[in-house]
Symmetry: C2
Subunit: 245 residues, 2 copies
């Protein structure tokens, strides 16, 4: 299983995802790799009102607007090198909590992967703001979700909020301070948008050291007719174990 934490506001997540997927596409056992998306807000306190990204970069690094513009363009070059569309200019950023909540709603309906791709596209590949009012519900519908239900999720600030916070707590517990952050089988980590070759190496290493479940207990003392086996009483399709007298 590959679990990856990312934020919609993170261009390296957009790029890293493409690199990981390229590695996965070339991996022999790709059919047996479960891919799970987890939420991570880079800045939980950022305002909901969208702001242009270039001035934000300038302010964060204490550099001029031209340098910030150049930094954004170099990220765009990296994206395009990966075959990803990237806006020429004018990308904005805002609080992504609602997007993460919606991704959890989408997960329940098997539409998370579709919505995540649409959110990245809306944020990095389209001129219009991904944070414009109504846009998130539109994207949810485009991902195959029911629009009315998506609107209700958006309106209820607590809907799926706990799921987002749990994802973030898990990432913190694993030592992640930034994204993208990939974990293979809870044992191998890849931090950042590493080259596809690194993801390939991680996939191979995880596969080679994959563990088979070891059963604990079960000394054969149980002589039940249930399906659980291993000596413990349990219930199976044919009924429950009848305990010894």
């Amino acid at each position: 299983m590959n679990t990856s934490w990312s934020d919609i506001n993170c261009p390296w997540c957009y790029i890293g995802k493409a690199r990981f997927e390229r590695a996965l596409a070339g991996f022999a056992h790709r059919g047996e790799v479960e891919v799970v998306h987890r939420s991570f807000e880079l800045d939980p306190r950022s305002p909901h009102q969208a702001r242009p990204v270039v001035p934000l970069i300038a302010a964060k690094y204490g550099i001029g607007l031209e340098q910030a513009e150049a930094a954004e363009q170099r990220i765009a070059d990296n994206a395009r090198a990966e075959g990803l569309a990237y806006v020429r200019a004018g990308r904005d950023a805002a609080n992504s909590f609602d997007m993460h909540r919606m991704l959890h709603f989408a997960a329940e309906h098997g539409r998370q992967a579709a919505l995540l791709d649409l959110l990245y596209r809306a944020n990095f590949a389209e001129e219009a703001s991904a944070f414009a009012p109504g846009r998130l519900v539109e994207l949810a519908v485009e991902a195959g979700l029911d629009g009315e239900r998506a609107a209700r999720v958006l309106a209820d600030r607590e809907a799926y909020a706990e799921a987002v916070r749990e994802d973030e707590a898990t990432a913190s517990a694993m030592g992640a301070t930034g994204v993208p952050f990939f974990v293979f089988d809870r044992r191998l980590g890849v931090s950042g948008a590493q080259p596809a070759e690194t993801f390939t190496a991680a996939l191979e290493q995880a596969w080679e050291s994959r563990t088979v479940l070891t059963l604990v207990g079960g000394d054969g003392a149980g002589e039940n007719g249930g399906e659980a086996g291993n000596g413990g009483e349990g219930c199976g399709p044919e009924g429950c174990a009848v305990p010894r007298r």
Copy 2:
């Protein structure tokens, strides 16, 4: 992390959960053990109309009603030995899919553990049927959930259905054919309502062999200012890595 699969129709799940919890209560690192409930229907094709359990046992094992009654009483004795209330007679069973869907709804609101206990109590410790119309929503409210939303979940047959099926697919992939089925850190399995001592052994073994995340890649080639570290470009609270020219 401990993940356990169970069904509300499974008395050994009710008993096994108590045994596991007794082991956990005496475990030194209990504060660091995450407990996750997963769904498993023993009989996905069983009717929604509740039926008395004793005739079902008799039919499944091809035994007389008296013998079936004795089997149910022996399970009740095991439950009481664990300090659990258990109805004297008249327990029924029905399709548990809606209960599992509601448990996933409850999980989103941090109320899953509460609802699971209430469902077991309603099914095994109370004279009234846990499957009576309206009972599931009542229990959801008792667990702290919003009654109107719970009723909507119940009415929408597809709400959380995928989540239930995913749990079952994961259990099957791990080789579970019956419940309760416990997995510690995806590596150690305990099948059936084993004695508390077995759960203690599994907790200790999982703790001793717990793995720390190993980072793959990161040869230090990246000289970015991001937070991701490990050589990969990423974004952190202070901004995103600016790629090398």
